[in-house]
Amino acid sequence: MNNHLTQDQLARWIVGDSGPEERQHVLQCLHCSREVKTFREAVATFQVAMREWSDKEVVPSLHVPAVRMDWSGWVAAGLAVGAIGILPWCAPVEKQEPIVATTINEDAQLMEEVAMHLSRPMPVSMERVIALFPEPEVEENQ
């Protein structure tokens, strides 16, 4: 058998696209069957080597953050807006009440002091001076 298959015919045989005559030839021809066998063995070794290599590689785990609505920002913003809105009504009222009460107390105290001052027969400064003088004796006979 001198007429061996050409390179194209061998390639077609390997791909599985050959005719019955070529298939029959490879079965009978030692040279052509060896050509096919050499190729197949090399490719099979390559396949096994690549699989061994890839199977020993570490497979990473996929860490994908869970997709969810982040409400914390909205909540914080809402609280901030609420606080700003409430402050003008709440904060001044809380501060004004003690001020009013204090003012009223102070006014009342001042009025009391004024009333007490007016009710005195003489000024406070004169009271101290007068106190130095002995009180006039009341005649028992009178």
Partner: protein
């Protein structure tokens, strides 16, 4: 993300309807357990991209991108093809984009993570085999690795899917977006080129 389930049945379904044969759920159900999908398909996507770009760092980055894209698009996956074919289509697009991106031309030339075939054949040769067989394994792996380097993008993709991933013509056509006849033509040319390259080295 749901809890991990034990990997049962066939580890790597190879046919479009492999999920039926292996007792696995339908593709649309399967894709919902994405942790499991990653465990199952990460190695094959990684090795396909690795054999395509021939750079370990780039391969890992593109594989991560592939799974991120798949995760984002998982709800639009209709299950017309198997999860494997769908993921492979995404991987092929990522590889294509990588080669098109001119900004990365410089980095492609530098290839920090360029793969030495010893790395690949070394793991296989770790087994208790004779030095002669180890040498033969290394020779065969190097021959195919070097031969696929000079193939065109499409020829390499089709070759790897057929001979490394055992995908049939229909699956390759679905993953690449090519017609079956185009897949056959690219595969034929790839095999011829690989055989020529291997013949020159002898």
């Amino acid at each position: 993300m749901t809890a991990k389930r034990p990997l049962t049945g066939c580890m790597e379904p190879t046919t479009t309807f492999g999920f039926i044969a292996s007792g696995m759920e339908s593709p649309t159900t399967e894709i919902q357990d994405f942790d499991r999908v990653m465990q199952l398909y990460w190695p094959r996507i990684l090795r396909f991209i690795m054999a395509s770009v021939r750079d370990r760092d780039v391969a890992e980055t593109l594989t991560q991108d592939c799974f991120m894209n798949a995760y984002r698009a998982r709800n639009s996956f209709r299950g017309d093809s198997s999860v494997n074919t769908w993921l492979m289509r995404i991987a092929i697009n990522n590889v294509r984009k990588f080669f098109r991106n001119r900004k990365l031309q410089f980095w492609r030339r530098v290839q920090h993570g360029a793969v030495d075939t010893n790395t690949i054949s070394g793991r296989l040769a770790d087994r208790n085999i004779s030095p002669e067989n180890k040498a033969l394994i290394h020779e065969q792996v190097s021959a195919v690795w070097e031969a696929t380097k000079d193939l065109s993008g499409r020829q390499r993709t089709v070759f790897l899917l057929r001979f490394m991933e055992d995908m049939d013509i229909v699956e390759i056509a679905a993953a690449t977006g090519l017609s079956r006849s185009s897949v056959n033509v690219h595969l034929f040319r790839a095999v011829r080129a690989v055989r020529e390259s291997m013949g020159k080295k002898k």
